[in-house]
Symmetry: C2
Subunit: 217 residues, 2 copies
DNA sequence: AGGCGTTTGTGGACGCTGTCCACTCTAGCC
DNA sequence: GGCTAGAGTGGACAGCGTCCACAAACGCCT
């Protein structure tokens, strides 16, 4: 990432979008290690090997850079969730597979928060409004939403299709479930439960998923 | 709060712990308006009417001041929850009252997050470890714990006493419940659900409490 | 080919922050 | 009634985000 001192004459020497992309990559690196507060503009430019003000050619201010890093962090979470879901064998109407997919979603979410706390915190630390989320009910064509909520919705819809989840329980359940998983991630991540041991943490996660399953049944 | 320019000779003119208490009060004011990041040491000293370095006679650094403000924010949340619980009529073994108390706890928590977002964020933004929480199982003598988790535990224990909640469901349920409530508070507070409308938000809260009730039943 | 405007990066500066050091004055103890 | 510890002051430093004026490279147009 860091390629300082190219020792060329000033002016533009890099390919067209390189500085912008580099700043985001550097920001991602910083965020990974220290969360959103660690995304400091000057340090990012330093990693890219450019003077601080160069960043202002690509971002209005630090918040805009941070927003880009947040979006990238969220995308990373979404990608990992999608990968985990895709890895579950069985088709849409297979009841067992549908349930396993839901579990994979929750587990991956919690694992991401545990293994990449900086990115997780960053993904949800949007400086301004950002509109990750379809306001409350997506249009009926809930195409491909790779965000956590979108993927959770798809998994729940599959559960209904597969006959595991009753149709009248379905509407809106994504929010209690998301809240539960997110809350545990936050409490055990940066919150007061942050220094419970590993196996204790695993027990809490299991407890939560069981509780959710009970609420669905 | 702000009493600048007392225009006395320098040296100590205030009662003994006044500056320290004033700094915490000023920090609380700042946190209320802007969350933990708004607790800036120099601004707090300015509000108290003292030079920035004076703060270092009472706190090792900014993080220690912030920690004190966090503790105070958490205490405020705890007080409001306790007040709401105390206001519910009926004794410990009254089933209906016990259930109402649990609802009051959740509702107050969510309301606090909604009406005092700065304090709420601050309460959970501890810079270092802080040990609000009894690691996982309190000693059998779970005396008076005014923290959110402690009060939630008491309410759940009451629910068992009153015969509403089965004894084998009880162990550990506080964590899924806390997670759910906290998660919704965070998601609708600073998270991606932050700009849903008021009635939408109310619906989400209701949905969550229903889900929790279902998980308990 | 050559000129020119737009883009992109530079250099220097400002105000703000947290923090350190040396100093002073006050209050309370012997 | 002096002395010592505590509490507040003043000045300074580095690091941060941000603004301004300037210079160089690109690429388009004639």
């Amino acid at each position: 990432m860091a390629e300082a001192a190219e020792s060329e004459s000033p002016g533009r020497r890099r390919p067209r979008g390189a500085v912008r992309a580099g700043l985001i990559a550097a920001g991602l690196e910083l965020a990974r290690a220290g969360g959103p507060d660690a995304v400091v503009l000057r340090e990012a430019t330093r990693l890219v090997g450019v003077v601080p003000n160069a960043a202002y050619r690509h971002f209005a201010d630090r918040d805009e850079l941070l927003a880009a890093v947040c979006t990238a962090s969220m995308a990373e979470l979404g990608d990992r969730m999608a990968a985990a879901v895709a890895q579950v064998p069985g088709d849409r109407v297979d009841p067992e597979a549908a349930f396993t997919r839901l579990g994979a979603i929750g587990t991956t979410y919690l694992r991401f928060a545990r293994e990449e706390p900086g990115w997780f915190a960053t993904a949800y630390a949007v400086p301004q409004q950002h509109a990750y989320i379809t306001p409350t009910e997506a249009g009926p064509d809930a195409e491909e939403d790779r965000g956590p909520l979108g993927q959770l919705r798809m998994a729940l819809d599959n559960l209904v299709e597969a006959g595991v989840l009753s149709a009248e329980t379905r509407p809106g359940v994504e929010f209690p479930i998301w809240s539960g998983v997110h809350g545990l991630a936050v409490l055990t991540g940066q919150g007061p439960l942050r220094d419970v041991g590993d196996e204790e943490r695993a027990r809490l996660e299991e407890l939560l998923l069981l509780f959710i399953a009970k609420g669905l049944g």
